[in-house]
């Protein structure tokens, strides 16, 4: 019970912090829609082409904007010492990593998830594809959050080259993208592809607390 309370209040804190950075979330969403507009304008109003690349576009934009927010992942809490205080309050590093990953999912990816239906309308994506998009997107974005957690905790030890972390995340997410886009375009093999995606999710899920936790520990040691 005590433990559960701690978790709940961890999210209360994240919520307070993220809400005060509300404009970051808003900027993300605006960025998302602006990019869609740019595409439509650069392609011209050809409906066929737009609906052809729509899914791919949504996916890339998701990936790009979740790397956009990677910087905030641990950096602030690390620099102002809150990471240490939270750890001393009885959260192990691995556990902090899990909580933070979910928090990233909640405050960065979910707003995207919610804006997908609108994007689908803009991009002429057929309604029946929406479900596939949603399913692959929710799993995929969790994978991205985990990858982001690992890379940005690694980045704490490498404060010089921030983009490197993003590049690593992006390289690792290539297979994720391939499978997710495949899911939507090959509806008949939906089940097997989503299982693969699930498999990837489980793997990064298992690695994440271990890898991020280690990186957090080491970076605090050297601060």
């Amino acid at each position: 019970m005590k433990f559960l309370n701690k978790i709940i209040f961890f999210y209360y804190r994240e919520y307070k912090l993220n809400l005060s950075g509300f404009q970051d979330i808003l900027t993300n969403i605006i960025f998302f829609f602006v990019s869609i507009l740019i595409f439509i304008f650069s392609i011209g109003p050809d409906k066929e082409v737009i609906s052809l690349i729509g899914v791919g576009m949504i996916w890339t934009l998701l990936l790009l904007s979740s790397t956009l927010s990677l910087r905030k992942f641990y950096q602030d809490d690390y620099e102002n010492g809150n990471l240490l205080i939270i750890h001393l309050n009885g959260f192990s590093f691995g556990f902090i990593a899990i909580l933070k990953t979910f928090s990233h999912f909640l405050f960065v990816q979910v707003p995207f998830l919610l804006s997908i239906p609108i994007a689908c309308i803009l991009l002429n994506i057929a309604n029946d594809k929406l479900f596939y998009l949603f399913a692959s997107f929710s799993i995929g974005s969790l994978i991205l959050s985990c990858l982001g957690s690992i890379s940005s905790s690694m980045n704490l030890m490498n404060q010089r080259n921030f983009l490197l972390g993003s590049v690593i995340v992006m390289i690792f997410s290539v297979p994720v993208i391939i499978f997710s886009v495949g899911i939507i375009n090959m509806e008949e093999s939906f089940n097997s592809l989503i299982n693969i995606l699930f498999g990837i999710l489980l793997i990064v899920f298992a690695i994440n607390p271990w890898a991020s936790g280690l990186c957090l520990k080491l970076s605090l040691e050297n601060n």
């Binding site: 080259n161 490197l164 590049v167 390289i171």
Partner: protein
């Protein structure tokens, strides 16, 4: 064979080998160039652009080979706790990157007359591009991570994970139908290439290997020295 895993043994061996290797590679290179430009025939289809092959194919093979060896050393370093593996990886990654770059550039130069574009997004070319980026990431990780012990392990793990890409590069031509040439030379059965083209190709390949090894020896030595000075 101890010199393959032991820094001080490696140093001894390197002192023996370096000079002959360098001389040998220069000679081989000269002969190879001579062969490929004067003593080999034009292709009946491709004309003289076929000569690009003598750079393209060896560099492509070496790009793959270098990564494969790095993978082996990563396993050695991580599983068997042989720190020489870390040294090797740090030193050799740039060499592999250069080979990959040569492969891509020569390939695009070849591609323009053959396919009409510099670049297409088929499976072979894309996977090679990814190989190149993986090499670059390895180099940059080595440059920008501060904590050496962590960095080495992270890089080694990254190399291991990235090795998934190797079979994709190699077999992409068989798995997907691509614009790129399927294996003609490196087939396990009889190669379907004329001996007059085969000879310069083999010589060039060995020249590339020699140069690669020579530079690798130099870089590994400096890496060993820099680590020693760091510890003292």
């Amino acid at each position: 064979m101890k010199f393959l895993v032991n820094p001080s043994k490696f140093n001894e061996m390197a002192d023996y080998l370096f000079r002959p290797l360098l001389i040998l590679s220069i000679i081989l290179f000269a002969i190879g160039l001579l062969f490929s430009f004067y003593f080999s025939p034009d292709d009946y289809q491709q004309g003289s652009t076929v000569r690009i092959m003598y750079v393209h194919v060896p560099s492509a093979w070496l790009a793959l080979l270098t990564y494969a060896i790095m993978t082996i050393y990563s396993i050695l370093a991580l599983a068997f706790r042989i720190p020489f593996g870390f040294i090797f990886n740090t030193a050799v990654a740039p060499i592999g990157a250069v080979f990959t770059l040569i492969c891509i550039v020569s390939g695009s130069l070849w591609g323009k007359p053959m396919w009409g574009t510099w670049w297409v997004w088929d499976a072979r070319l894309t996977s090679v591009a990814i190989l190149f980026i993986i090499y670059l990431i390895i180099i940059f990780m080595n440059l920008s991570f501060e904590n050496r012990i962590v960095r080495e392990k992270v890089v080694a793990i990254f190399i291991l994970v990235g090795s998934v890409n190797l079979p994709i590069v190699k077999f992409s031509v068989d798995w997907w139908n691509t614009l790129h040439q399927p294996a003609t030379i490196s087939k396990l059965s009889t190669p379907s290439i004329d001996p007059s083209m085969m000879t310069p190709l083999i010589i060039m390949t060995f020249a590339f290997i020699m140069i690669g090894v020579a530079i690798a020896i130099l870089r590994i030595k400096t890496e060993i020295i820099s680590r020693k000075s760091h510890l003292s």
